[in-house]
Subunit: 188 residues, 2 copies
Amino acid sequence: MKNLLAYIHSLTNFSAESWEILSPALTTITFEKDQYLLEAGKVCDALFFVSGGYCRAFYDKDGQEINTDFFFENDIATNINSFAKAEKSEFSIQACEDVTVVRFDKKKLREAAEHDPEIDGLGRKCLQQIAAKQEKHAAMYKLMTAQERYEYLEKYAPEVLQRVSLTQIASYLGVARETLSRIRSRRL
Amino acid sequence: MKNLLAYIHSLTNFSAESWEILSPALTTITFEKDQYLLEAGKVCDALFFVSGGYCRAFYDKDGQEINTDFFFENDIATNINSFAKAEKSEFSIQACEDVTVVRFDKKKLREAAEHDPEIDGLGRKCLQQIAAKQEKHAAMYKLMTAQERYEYLEKYAPEVLQRVSLTQIASYLGVARETLSRIRSRRL
DNA sequence: ATTGTTTTGTGACGATTGTCACAGGTTAAA
DNA sequence: TTTAACCTGTGACAATCGTCACAAAACAAT
């Protein structure tokens, strides 16, 4: 909860009263490794602030799992489209370790936002953050080769390389496991 | 302006009074072919609702231009990160034909949003739309081969294939011009 | 019509990557 | 400690794609 408060304050001004109003929308939950925070085909009705452990977002493409995102401590994990439009999610979010999250219930969050403009502003900031993250990631794909993407991770997201297995990273970078293995050995 | 109203109503409830309050933030502008709506390195201080013609967003990577988006009639063209965070834009937006847009001035828009929750809600909806578009496009890159991406455009964005030159589309799809030419000839 | 400019198609070739197969390592549970 | 399951590294080979070069086609302007 302390991390969550720090995260919120890093985004926007947030009073003690706002926190009181927001609190009922929050629950701390733990997921065991391999459990799903969100399953493809279901509607996303919550945001998850990750306070311990990490998870991954992945699409199932013809039986093959393709990672599109990792969420570590102090990240917000969700499907923002599914959340905002109440459409079925096209991807799943799964715990890669035992994970602790603070869950923001959609309905209660909306009620809280209606009563408090600070909470409304926070919601908007979160949306922006998520949009920004998506744009960065999309640009990484469009502008870089596999090797450059790997170097980008080394530079800007080293925790991914430290904590995530090669196989999972390869899927995230869009290359075969073997190719990533060779990229690594080339760079020693 | 009529198209803009229809667009707004498709997103959210919007009263005549809100429109009155919003109007001072709007200007209709035309850009000639090749003119810039936004230049890389500058801060984006406006949204552009495209009412005629189309434009492209592109990154400059070591002198090579890489297209990342096209904006047609009834699209909102902007750099949402640069707009929201007042950071320098990493890409440019350029008119590909003579283009007519309705410009939303950032400062005036914010003032209008402070006076009217409907305008505030509209802003949020726009943000969501843009985030959704980005996510779709990112997924296209991560999940599909070049050929599948081309077929995706055929299915979901045929106006791109009709109106944009092969060279520009190739850059957008992330393949060499020649490769796209071969994808096309394979599919006849 | 003619010229010049831009765009598109195509062949050849080399580089990169994916696929398949298998070996070596690591980890976790019994 | 042993086993089993999983992850990683590596070689061989085929398929794909990018690059270079140039021809054909489309388009614009005079």
